[in-house]
């Protein structure tokens, strides 16, 4: 008898526990809270986010901020978690998302986001951003997210000591010229171009920069608007150039991450590294000063373009605390918040009216270009094309790095483009 009652008790306890979870879940939405979701957990970015939250606290002291982060470079893990939450109808109040297709294709077109154009105008922020950036955050003329920061994708960082040794006194303007220096570096016993493509994306990062150079910003942007065909000879030329560059990368590239590759430049083993300017932040944390031990230039043939990688925050339709979410977005859209966050994170503000004196010499160079040259969406960082396209292109380029077969890669690119409804004729 006692046994039986024990069992009944056990069942009862478990059921009450499960019930309790559901009840707690359904009440969570009623408190005065703000939940922000991001993958900002690394050096610099975490501090930047905390500074923003602190700023928010000063303005709205009675709102409890829940800082939901999921670690993992470029948000690979966070994005999966976010998708699950969005599907389950349990979105955060606001979440980090790259400007462009990652936002539009995944969340806006299915109708999960609220437009914020009206508010952007109300806050007087609408005309403070470059039009090209807001376009990336827009769908059918409505803005859906606030761009917070901008990273530049098409930058070469190089070791100044090695550059002096091989006689690279001024930045090469063309790939032909750059390859000449890579060859010289190899002759002097250095690695020409450091690459770390264990996680694949860095190879596509290099390729999209070469492609941007060969196509030029106008045609590159046309690819995504179905104005330019993927069958353009410039894409084939980009593959040819990449093939010429590949002999000068380190042999163990597939065992390395992007940090390892940047470290090769830092430790004096490699001349240069093509990377987004988060590498600048990384070199600074290693103890180098921009312009002193390392120099930089736009990837050859792309000095008239700025490959944009921009983090933005949007407003989900089912956000449990829309009022607080709007307060958060309003803060993010302000100059003050952008100038607090970006110098810490090592990126530039998306607004054009920021205080330049708060940024280092590299970031000022980047800000100048951001305001003057053509802005182009990055493929690998989710802005230009849907994620399905990016993953397949990643595979094509990964294979190309090994096989070096231009015709095969071209076929793969065209097939991928056709699958995703881009022009191939």
């Amino acid at each position: 008898m006692v046994k039986k009652w024990l069992v009944v008790l056990l069942v009862a306890v478990v059921s009450v526990g499960i019930l309790g979870l559901f009840v707690a879940g359904s009440f969570a939405g009623t408190k005065n809270e703000l939940e922000i979701f991001s993958w900002w957990t690394g050096g610099g970015e975490e501090e930047g986010l905390n500074a923003l939250i602190k700023l928010f606290h000063q303005l709205y002291p009675d709102v409890k901020v829940i800082n939901a982060t999921v670690a993992g470079g470029a948000g690979t893990n966070a994005k999966a978690v976010l998708k699950t939450r969005m599907l389950g109808g349990n979105p955060p109040d606001s979440f980090q998302v790259h400007a462009g297709m990652e936002l539009i294709d995944t969340y806006v077109i299915p109708g999960m986001m609220r437009p914020i154009t009206k508010y952007m105008k109300e806050w007087g922020a609408y005309n403070k951003f470059p039009k090209a950036i807001l376009d990336m955050c827009s769908y059918k003329r409505n803005v859906y997210s606030v761009p917070v920061n901008v990273h530049r994708g098409n930058v070469v960082f190089y070791n100044k000591k090695i550059a002096a040794e091989i006689g690279m006194t001024k930045p090469p303007k063309t790939w032909k010229e750059f390859i000449k220096y890579l060859k010289l570096a190899k002759k002097h016993g250095y690695i020409g171009l450091a690459l770390g493509d264990k996680n694949k994306w860095t190879a596509l990062h290099l390729f999209e920069d070469i492609m941007l150079g060969k196509l030029g910003p106008k045609k590159y942007n046309g690819l995504w608007k179905n104005k330019v065909s993927f069958n353009d000879p410039a894409i084939k030329a980009a593959l040819e150039t990449m093939k010429e560059v590949l002999p000068y990368i380190n042999t163990d590239h597939s065992a390395m991450t992007w940090q390892d590759a940047t470290r090769l430049v830092f430790s004096g083993k490699a001349l240069a590294n093509v990377m987004g300017d988060w590498a600048e932040g990384y070199l600074k944390t290693l103890g180098w000063k921009p312009g002193k031990q390392f120099g930089w230039f736009a990837v050859p043939e792309t000095s008239n373009a700025f490959m944009v990688v921009s983090d933005t925050f949007g407003l989900p339709k089912k956000a449990p605390h829309p009022k607080n979410a709007l307060r958060w977005l309003k803060l993010l859209a302000s100059v003050k918040a952008q100038d607090v966050f970006n110098p810490i994170k090592g990126s530039i503000p998306a607004r054009l009216d920021a205080d330049k004196s708060k940024y280092d010499v590299y970031l000022r160079w980047s800000m100048h270009d951001f305001a003057t040259v053509a802005l182009c969406p990055s493929i690998i960082h989710g802005s230009a094309a849907p994620e399905g396209f990016v993953t397949a292109l990643n595979d094509v380029i990964n294979r190309f790095v090994t096989k070096k077969n231009v015709a095969q890669a071209m076929k793969g690119i065209l097939q991928d483009a056709e699958d995703n409804g881009y022009l191939v004729k």
């Binding site: 690979t76 294709d105 694949k200 042999t251 163990d252 065992a255 083993k269 399905g388």
Partner: protein
Amino acid sequence: MRRNRGVGLLVVLPSIVAIAIFVYGFISWTVRVSLSNYNSFSSLLRGVYRFVGLRNYYRIFSDWRFQTDLWNTLFFTLFFILGTIAVGIVLALLIDSRIRGVKVFQNIFLFPMALAFVVTGTTWGWIFNPGDFPKDPMGVNLLFKQLGLSHLQWGWYTTTGHIGPFNIALIPIIIAAVWQLSGYAMAMYLAGLRGIPNSIIEAAKVDGATPWQLFWKVKFPLLKPITLSAMIILGHISLKIFDLVYAMTGSGPNNVTDVPAVYMFELTFRANRYALGSSISIIMLVMVAVVVIPYLFYSMRQQKEVRL
């Protein structure tokens, strides 16, 4: 008696319901998705189900990356099982030989099993990191250099060399996996060896069997059920392997170390191609089922025989 059965049912009922929903329910759901047009986040969200038959399966089987994955899984499974069983038997025999002090090693050999595959993968990833050899080697290559054996250096898991369809970059991963699970195989064989009645072994010795004959003619045949169990357990681990590969090498250059589970993860959670990802999951399920189900029948039949 009767009341007891009622209570028993009540106790197991939650798990029956949970398994029905969370295992079989979700398997059927995955089958359903794998036959659908859910190949983007928005089509999944809108939830307008369109049945496309076996189109996703057709597409995945004609995908060169998936074909590479299947070859990789085949060779990985083969060498991993052979290696683990061979090392496991040798270790078990050593410990069973009752040499003084050998007992300590019993636990040491079993220890790697307590580690997560992610930890093993990361660590062996460092060990087999080739570095920019021969000039600037790392890991094992550095060891070779310091021993004056520089000619033995090679690219380990970064190499794209292959023997027929076997990508030799898989070798370091096989070594890591064997390292992790051979202790487990040892424990199984040790239990088996201890279960062999001494009288049989004594009889064989009296008949003049050499140690070699004793092993191959007496012990190994008696250990057959253990070998079979080990093969099944190791086989289903290796067919589903994900974490070890993902942490240690990723897909590798030209997918030389890619496996179906990694591709499934990328298709589903990166590319939002849920239908294609689901079809890989189902293919993996079928592969494991082919290995496990005959074994289940076999062991069920044996149990019945025992009861008779």
